[in-house]
């Protein structure tokens, strides 16, 4: 069912390929996680440091209620969307990368 299984000597079995692959994947994940953690930990900090600012009213909500109760969800969806698009692009690039590496090696 799968395409031709790669041979032991192929480029994709090299240390170089795996290292680069994991590094690029981790970098993407950490970037997205930072955007999320920034807001996740930043919001309590803002509540702590600037309580009056966060208590101002926006359409009946306090600002901090609006952010946490409503806006937080779409924000996370955007991060997820960006991550998926980027990680699929990354995977395609890796496939190309592996094929090229094979050519070079053989």
């Amino acid at each position: 069912m799968s395409p031709i299984p790669p041979k032991e000597t192929d480029f994709i079995h090299s240390e170089e390929f795996l290292n680069g692959l994991m590094k690029r994947q981790l970098k993407l994940s950490i970037c997205c996680a930072s955007a999320f953690l920034l807001v996740l930990f930043g919001l309590p900090l803002l509540n702590y440091l600037a309580p009056d600012f966060m208590a101002q009213r926006v359409a009946g909500f306090t600002l901090s209620w609006l952010v946490l109760g409503v806006l937080f969800f779409p924000y996370v969806w955007i991060i997820a969307r960006i991550f998926i698009t980027r990680s699929m692009a990354l995977e395609n690039a890796e496939v190309g990368n592996a094929a090229e590496g094979n050519k070079r090696k053989n």
């Binding site: 299984p5 994709i12 795996l18 994940s29 309580p51 208590a55 009946g60 901090s64 996370v76």
Partner: protein, 597 residues
């Protein structure tokens, strides 16, 4: 028994939900034939179905009823629960979902064994699956018992537990993962419908979300809010027990400042004010951080959720599924807090009720009955009751599948009889489902006095400090050894368990009912907590130190046992991380039926 005051609408809607579940279970059971169908739904669940099913499984009684009740009783701080329940999936998506699926196991213990080539580690992992699973099952059972007792007043608590337990056990035993997937997906949409429709009707009758929220006046803005037109919105006077407006609306309210308040009460009267002023907010900030870490990491480490990723055809589908889960769950979680806000304005009498279905937890079920139009109110109340039923049924079925899988696949199929045929394992799956279902029902009958949030909190605390560090580190660090993984996981999980239990038993000893008597021996603890509010916070919400502890131990012990790193770790990592298009994927567990792959 007197059945005269039963609302026929409520009864009808609840009955329909249960009947639909049973019928669907029987129908889809016919198509579940192979062992792979039972354990991982043939690895062929499409993104849309799987996302609905995961969402249906995840939104438990605690989400459906508990969050609304908590927002009503504690205000702003309780909003962290829905947000973190939903956003924990982002961590799953970023770090775990894709690689875990590529590994191609059946259960998390499979992964644990396969990654470290260690049967011993499988046993440890199985224990954690069962342990976390039962902790999570008990609150679902309690939800079933109390809701049925609410719908049919006079019915004893255990009837609901036994009825729901029996229905779900039957479904799981008949069709395994494949039929449960279908049922859970439908139950998600029942829940979504049941929470959103009443909210829209109520908001159109009693004013918008923001408008209702604006009736709560924060300390600084009393004047501004009073200038809006208060006559158009009716608000019942709040009873003595309800938190004051500014404490309820602002961050760092009753939920996060409890430890400092208790500590202040133990001090001489003249020091109280200064103590609260100095410590209240920093401690509340710490509490919030720890709560957030625990919920986010706990979500990413719940075994019954993780096992669902194996039902996807591949890693890309696993990632897409996670994203849709976040959207489906996120939309759902906007609604329960609305119930809490409306309940505070319209039905403050719930504040005086006791805990459980009589108190604020009942706000979702009770609020629709307020409507002047009796029939509409009954119909909406019936819809929310049906949603509550769907909530604990779907979560329990998911837990049952994952625990049964652990027992039938890991214990029977891998440890006791590794040579058993897929057919034998399938039969075993059915028997294990009955066994675990029965244990759950028996446990459920005993937990009536315990609080739902207490039990769910325990499960999250343990998962956050054991499975999350394990998966995260196993996927991303090549130097991990079995000893390192096991040490970190056990230490983190046990510390979280004992820390959370220590504060919980002392809380229970203050209970005025039956629980207070059982746990009376722990009452002296409370003096200690009053003297050490910081320690109390760190024990009540242990994640902020248990998660780093687990990860640190994993690194230190792995470095010390460097020689035992699996020799083929590079190949394992390649399978976890390389895109499927490279043809490296090999299912760790394969059932050889039909043509061999």
């Amino acid at each position: 028994m007197d059945f005269s005051h039963i609302d026929p609408w409520i009864l009808a809607f609840s009955a329909i939900t249960v009947v639909v579940t049973i019928v669907m279970g029987f129908r889809s059971a016919k198509s579940s034939k192979s062992a792979s169908d039972f354990f991982v739904a043939g690895r062929s669940v499409s993104v849309g179905w799987n996302a609905s099913a995961i969402s249906g499984e995840y939104l438990s009684a605690a989400s459906f009823m508990g969050i609304a009740g908590m927002v009503m009783s504690s205000g702003y701080d309780a909003l962290w629960y829905p947000v973190c329940y939903a956003c924990g999936y982002l961590f799953l998506l970023l770090f775990i979902a894709g690689p875990l699926r590529r590994f191609g196991a059946y259960t998390i213990p499979d992964f644990a064994e396969g990654r470290y080539d260690s049967p011993l580690f499988r046993r440890i992992a199985v224990c954690f699956v069962l342990f976390i699973g039962f902790f999570y099952t008990m609150p679902q059972m309690k939800g079933a018992g109390t809701t049925l007792a609410y719908i049919l007043p006079g019915l004893p608590y255990w009837v609901g537990v036994v009825a729901v337990g029996a229905v779900i056990t039957l479904n799981v035993a008949l069709g395994g993962m494949k039929s449960i997937t279908l049922i859970q997906a439908v139950q998600y949409w029942i829940k979504m419908f049941a929470i959103s429709v009443p909210v829209f009707v109520l908001l159109s009758l009693y004013g918008g979300y923001g408008k209702n929220l604006s009736l709560n006046q924060s300390a600084a803005q009393t004047a501004i809010v009073q200038s809006t037109d208060p006559a158009s919105l009716a608000r019942q006077p709040l009873p003595e027990k309800a938190p004051k407006d500014d404490a309820w609306l602002a961050p760092f309210g009753p939920l996060t400042t409890k430890a400092v308040k208790t500590a202040a009460d133990a001090l001489p009267a003249d020091q109280r004010e200064a103590f609260i002023k100095e410590n209240k907010k920093p401690y509340a900030l710490l509490y919030t951080f720890s709560l957030v870490v625990g919920l986010v990491c706990g979500t990413a480490g719940l075994p019954h959720i993780l096992v669902r990723f194996y039902t996807n055809p591949d890693g890309v589908a696993a990632k897409k599924t996670t994203m849709w889960v976040m959207i489906l769950i996120g939309i759902f979680y906007v609604f329960p807090p609305v119930f809490g806000v409306l309940g505070r304005n319209l039905m403050p009498s719930l504040y005086t009720g006791l805990a459980g279905v009589k108190g604020t937890d009942a706000v979702v079920l009770r609020l629709p009955t307020l409507m002047h139009n009796g029939v509409l109110g009954s119909i909406l109340s019936g819809i929310t009751c049906a949603g509550a039923f769907a909530a604990f049924m779907s979560t329990f079925s998911g837990l049952l599948v994952s625990m049964t899988g652990a027992l039938a696949h890991d214990v029977y199929g891998r440890m006791l009889r590794p040579n058993s045929t897929p057919e034998e394992r399938m039969t075993m799956f059915k028997w294990c489902a009955v066994l675990i279902g029965s244990i759950s029902v028996i446990l459920g009958c005993f937990v009536e006095p315990l609080e739902i949030t207490f039990m769910v909190g325990q499960a999250f605390a343990i998962a956050a400090a054991s499975y999350f560090p394990l998966l995260f580190m196993s996927v991303w660090w090549r130097g991990m050894t079995m000893k390192g993984a096991a040490t970190g996981m056990l230490a983190g999980g046990l510390c979280a368990l004992f820390a959370a239990a220590a504060t919980n038993v002392s809380n229970l000893s203050l209970d005025k009912g039956k629980m207070g008597e059982i746990f009376a021996g722990f009452a002296p603890f409370n003096k200690f907590w009053a003297a050490h509010p910081l320690l109390r916070i760190l024990c009540e919400q242990p994640a902020i130190w248990t998660v780093p502890l687990a990860i640190t131990l994993m690194i230190v012990v792995s470095k010390a046992t460097r020689k035992t790193v699996p020799t083929d770790v590079r190949m394992k990592m390649l399978v976890l991380h390389a895109p499927e298009a490279l043809g490296l994927k090999q299912e760790y567990i394969q059932e050889h039926q039909g043509p061999a792959h």
